[in-house]
């Protein structure tokens, strides 16, 4: 009995040693030489592999930024400025701080504002619906509400609200990786600056139809009247193709445009409530 056990142990130990030696030599022969800094940078990165930086995953980003001469063109939206500063430190380079961004769904065509004119009975995909026809409302530019953006978001930051019928961004979770902007077949979602104290002003409409057509389709749509553009003291607003657009780099958050917009298409986010009582229908996230 003991002889069998001893023999078994001896054989297994010998096999183990043999494999260890073989593996050692194979590992040495097939070793991939990699700059150790790549590993360091990769460990600093959040590891979401979301592709928001434009690279093919966190390892590719690490490789790219180590091999590049400077930090230009490399920014991890998920990690943001803290992570980029750490990486710059690790590589002994300087980095510029970028303004944090957030995704904004530029449509306020809720079920209440934008009545449905037909019933869509196909597969619940915005892509399928957009290629089929002009949509189930009178506005063919607006949010279809079938959730392609929600399906593609890795951070649980955008959801289609069943009561409102449009996509809503949770700005605490949004990392501005840009996946939803690419997924939206209507091009409604835009990455905009998060703003001073997370405050921003945005035109929630991308409808290019003439004002009368827009108004008939949606009570919160931009009719291209131009009042906002004339009122803005900083020239931040342009009206093109019957729709207004606020340049977030120029906007100083004075909110004069919000007051004058006749359809309340321009909305403000995260401002403290104004002292006088004003009726502001269709407002979000105040």
């Amino acid at each position: 009995m003991t002889g069998t056990i001893l023999f078994t142990i001896a054989t297994l130990v010998a096999l183990g040693l043999l494999f260890a030696v073989v593996l050692y030599f194979v590992a040495q022969k097939f070793k991939v030489e990699e700059d150790p800094r790549i590993g360091t940078v990769e460990s600093i990165l959040p590891g979401a592999n979301c592709g928001g930086c434009g690279q093919a995953g966190c390892h590719a980003f690490a490789e790219g930024v180590v091999k590049a001469p400077s930090m230009d063109g490399f920014f991890c939206p998920v990690g943001g400025n803290p992570v980029m500063t750490k990486i710059a430190e690790a590589l002994g380079r300087a980095v510029e701080e970028k303004a944090p961004m957030v995704a904004v769904v530029r449509c306020n065509g809720t079920l209440a504002n934008r009545p449905r004119t037909n019933e869509y009975d196909g597969y619940a995909s915005c892509k399928v619906m957009a290629s089929l026809y002009a949509g189930d409302t009178g506005c063919k530019f607006g949010c279809l509400g079938k959730g392609d953006c929600e399906a593609v978001c890795k951070f649980d930051a955008i959801h289609v609200d069943p009561e409102r019928g449009i996509a809503i961004v949770d700005e605490d979770k949004c990392t501005a990786c840009g996946a939803c902007t690419k997924a939206c077949p209507k091009g409604i979602i835009e990455l905009r600056a998060k703003g001073f104290k997370n405050r921003r002003v945005c035109v929630l409409c991308v409808n290019k139809d003439k004002g009368a057509v827009t108004r008939k389709a949606c009570s919160a749509g931009c009719i291209g009247c131009g009042k906002c553009s004339k009122t803005c003291p900083f020239g931040a607003i342009t009206v093109e193709n019957n729709v207004a657009y606020i340049d977030f780099n120029v906007c100083k958050l004075c909110r004069k445009c919000v007051e004058v917009c006749p359809t309340h298409a321009i909305n403000e986010f995260n401002f403290p409530p104004k002292p006088k009582i004003e009726e502001k229908p269709h407002e979000e996230n105040v």
Binding site: R116, E119, D121, V128
Partner: protein, 329 residues
């Protein structure tokens, strides 16, 4: 008029649904179930009812409370598993045996993989094999009390396959063992010791014809399995008639007909193309025969089907249907 409905084409649908298919399978199983109740009494009926109830309840509870998904018991697939499991057990098995089997079949073999359509192994067979391995004595002995209309001679003890395997192991020859054995007509029309569903080849064949007429299954898999078993066992039997049982015996005993018609043709666990199905069926036939002849278990169909279930993803990947444009004249 309400708002117009708009959707991509097609705008109409065929008549089949998952529920209608499962309903057809249940109807096809009815002759076999009726025969087993007539031959074995109320205990068989109780077994079937308890099996169905246990399967449906397991699927309901797991789906609703563990997976928190919409309940899917209305598609009747759990009921089908319950019936098949009941037909795979000896008719006088205790009720708790089939409850355990149902929980294993639905809970482990189906729901852990993700529910209907996601499982790799046939749930009823997983349940059966689990019970066979855990309760070997209960699963392989029969007594015949409670039969209606005096159908069977009291036939307690092992199944024909079991008896033969034991006998051969003890050095007897086949001719000695089958001396007072069943004629073909007896096998066809009920008289065999066997699990509930094996009791009547005729009833099973009726179900098979019904499924073919309703276009629920194609004949490919059952026919190929039976032919493979017939050919392989025929060859062995000719080579050594005293050691190896013949093709007719092999086709009509054990769960071969039940397995070939109802278990191997399960959509989820069988290949989707004809080429894959033929390879699948040949494999089942071969393994069945080899387990019966050379394996330590008397019955091979359950194991054969489960083993070939593993190969199905591979068969689906490599056996593609004939493409339009590949045939050219």
């Amino acid at each position: 008029m309400d708002k117009l409905i708009v959707s991509p084409s097609p705008h109409t649908h065929g008549r089949e649904s998952t529920q209608s298919i499962m309903r057809d399978v249940l109807i096809a199983l009815t002759p076999a179930m009726v025969v087993s109740v007539l031959a074995s009494g109320w205990s068989a009926l109780i077994l079937i009812l308890v099996g169905v109830a246990a399967c449906v309840l397991t699927e309901f509870l797991i789906g609703k409370y563990m997976l928190k998904r919409p309940v899917t018991i209305c598609d009747l697939s759990a009921a089908v598993t319950g019936c098949l499991l009941a037909l795979n057990l000896p008719p006088n098995a205790p009720w708790w045996l089939i409850v355990i089997g149902s929980v294993v079949a639905i809970g482990i073999a189906k729901m852990t993989f993700g529910g209907l359509g996601q499982n790799i192994f046939n749930p009823a067979l997983v349940g059966r094999v689990f019970l066979l391995v855990s309760f070997p004595v209960l699963m392989t002995s029969w007594s015949d009390s409670g039969a209606f209309f005096g159908f069977a001679d009291a036939f307690s003890g092992a199944t024909p396959l079991g008896a033969i395997k034991e006998g051969l192991a003890n050095g007897q020859t086949l001719s000695q063992l089958t001396a007072d054995d069943l004629t073909l007509s007896q096998s066809l029309f009920f008289k065999m010791g066997g699990s509930t569903g094996e009791l009547s080849a005729c009833a099973l064949l009726l179900g098979f014809i019904y499924l073919l007429c309703r276009r629920v299954i194609k004949a490919t898999i059952p026919v190929t399995i039976i032919c493979t078993v017939a050919v392989v066992s025929g060859i062995f039997h000719l080579a050594d008639p005293d050691r190896f049982t013949g093709p007719l015996f092999n086709i009509f005993t054990g769960g071969l007909l039940l397995g070939a018609i109802f278990m191997a043709t399960d959509y989820v666990t069988s290949p989707m193309t004809t080429k894959g199905q033929i390879i699948f069926a040949v494999g089942i036939g071969l393994i069945t025969v080899f387990v019966r002849y050379f394996g330590s278990y008397p019955e091979g169909v359950s194991f054969a089907i489960l083993i070939m279930n593993c190969t199905v993803p591979l068969l689906n990947k490599y056996c593609k249907p004939k493409r339009f444009g590949e045939v050219r004249k």
